[in-house]
């Protein structure tokens, strides 16, 4: 068991180094995200004029939700993993993994973890600069169960994020260009993952349906636990459904990998 872990530890360390090379790219993206936060603050600040609550939450609670969402994006969100995997399949770099006793999913996942560690820490930099402006808006509920349930929710969200990106990457076995699929799915994910607005502001039936889809567990779910938008019963039910999606997506990824390899012709390499 442990020698197997060593392999992936090395993959993680190499991933760490190669992602530190892209520190500027991540840093620049983080700065843009803080500007996006300004957009969010201005828009919702104006929408809240003349009313204390929207959907049962006050302005500060909603703004805190968006700040947590931003942090989540950099700590657990998939960036261009789909594209990297797609490239490896296309130029035949993937062939080497077929000959070695290494699991491609775990190898890629180790690199993903390293990348999120780098991008997450870098995102903290502009947020720290903005902190004096943000401080007065941040309000967090103080129940401890929120941390206890929120942390596993965030970890499973990371697995879901990565696995969906991984599956999109594997589509390269069938399609030459996956970019448009990825951006199409990103648009859906932006809405159903609660990145555009908190999902609880949607009509009740829509909110309920979204809870059965994987997107809900990518972003909205952990952020909503941390920021007090879900109660304990909803959080526990959600964790069960989230676990179901983790298993289901891992199954799909495995299926695509097996099927894809049958079509794979190992060009280049």
């Amino acid at each position: 068991m442990f020698p197997a872990l060593t392999k992936y530890r090395h993959a993680f360390l190499i991933g760490l180094q190669s992602n530190i090379v892209y520190r500027w790219t991540f840093g620049v993206r983080a700065v843009f995200s803080v500007f996006h936060l300004a957009f969010v603050f201005i828009l919702w600040g104006a929408a809240y004029k003349g009313q204390a609550t929207i959907g049962g939450f006050d302005l500060n609670q909603t703004l805190t939700y968006f700040v947590v969402l931003l942090l989540m994006q950099f700590f657990i969100g998939a960036f261009n993993e789909d594209y990297q995997i797609s490239e490896e399949i296309r130029n035949g770099l993937i062939n080497q993994f077929l000959l070695k006793p290494i699991n491609y999913y775990l190898y890629r996942f180790s690199i993903f973890v390293a990348a999120r560690l780098v991008s997450g820490l870098l995102a903290l930099v502009p947020l720290l600069f903005a902190f004096p402006l943000l401080r007065d808006y941040l309000v967090f509920p103080d129940e401890t169960w929120r941390i206890l349930l929120g942390v596993p929710a965030a970890l499973m969200a990371a697995i879901i994020q990565f696995t969906i990106a991984y599956c999109f990457g594997l589509l390269t076995f069938w399609f030459l260009e996956i970019q448009s699929f990825v951006i199409l799915s990103l648009a859906i994910e932006t809405v159903l993952g609660g990145q555009m607005f908190p999902l609880d502001l949607m009509p009740a039936w829509f909110f309920r349906i979204s809870q059965f889809l994987p997107y809900y567990y990518q972003m909205y779910f952990p952020s909503a636990i941390f920021t007090g938008r879900l109660d304990q019963a909803q959080a526990i039910e959600g964790l069960a459904l989230q676990l179901f999606w983790v298993i289901a997506l891992l199954g799909i990824a495995n299926f695509l990998w097996r099927r894809g390899l049958r079509r794979h012709t190992a060009v280049g390499g």
Partner: protein
């Protein structure tokens, strides 16, 4: 070269783009769908907020829709005519392929900016116009010819402003070299054009309304349809257009002097 020959070059590029699009029909449909979905996402945001409130900074739901539609229209034109040209220009500067453009017998800026059209971006201008007309109908507006004429003119100014800003941003590649995703700042900036001017206060007002051209681009045309023609607003837009177009061209030309090709 005369203006006529530039027009001929542009038409040849346009024809080539159409032929190319016809060849990759599936791609065209997919990308049109992608852009369409993103527009729908932004419209959904408006719908969701107005399900919970009656006004944002004094703008009613359909007034806001008109504003968002206007902002989309300008952005669709930029996507259709210039985005991928300027994006590739930055990439070519990095790789040294930019040499090829300098070797052509024409103004380098023209050659760089007009190489191809993205028909999927242009296809979605129809959707943006649809959104605008729908909002105008819902508001019960009956714009005069003067209003419509100045609206169209103002959209033209908006395109020039966006073009200038985008050109200034991507021309920074001459100095920065490596790609750090600076092109993304254009989208970050233009996100603010979907907000009503009255929502900006304090420092945000100074930065986004006065220093950067994000707000003026969409708010002035939308106001013209809503509240009639206001000469001082047209003047504001005209000055902004001159400043940002000049800025883009200046940064480009300054950068051009620094360009020393790359290993290739």
């Amino acid at each position: 070269m005369s203006l006529l020959s530039y027009l001929r070059i542009w038409l040849a590029c346009a024809r080539y783009s159409v032929v190319r699009t016809m060849m990759f029909r599936f791609d065209f449909i997919m990308w049109s769908l992608v852009e369409f979905l993103w527009m729908a996402v932004n419209l959904l945001l408006v719908a969701v907020i107005y399900a919970h409130t009656d006004e944002i900074a004094g703008w009613s739901q359909y007034e806001m829709l008109l504003l968002v539609g206007t902002s989309m229209l300008v952005q669709r034109f930029i996507m259709g005519f210039f985005w991928s040209n300027l994006f590739e220009f930055a990439r070519n500067v990095r790789s040294g392929h930019f040499d090829f453009f300098l070797a052509q017998p024409g103004n380098p800026l023209f050659m760089v900016s007009t190489r191809k059209l993205d028909l999927d971006g242009l296809a979605n201008t129809v959707v943006a116009v649809g959104v605008i007309i729908y909002a105008v109908r819902q508001l019960g507006l009956e714009p005069s010819l003067l209003q419509i004429g100045s609206y169209v003119l103002m959209i033209g100014c908006g395109i020039l402003i966006h073009y200038g800003a985008l050109l200034a941003i991507v021309s920074l590649t001459f100095w920065l070299g490596a790609s750090q995703g600076i092109e993304g700042s254009y989208f970050t900036l233009m996100e603010f054009s979907r907000l009503p001017r009255e929502a900006f206060r304090g420092a945000a007002n100074l930065i986004f309304v006065w220093l950067l051209p994000a707000v003026v681009v969409s708010n002035v045309p939308a106001r013209t349809l809503l509240h009639g023609f206001e000469p001082q607003h047209l003047l504001w837009l005209a000055v902004t257009t001159a400043v940002w177009f000049a800025l883009g061209v200046t940064v480009f030309n300054r950068g051009l002097r620094r360009y020393a090709s790359a290993s290739s």
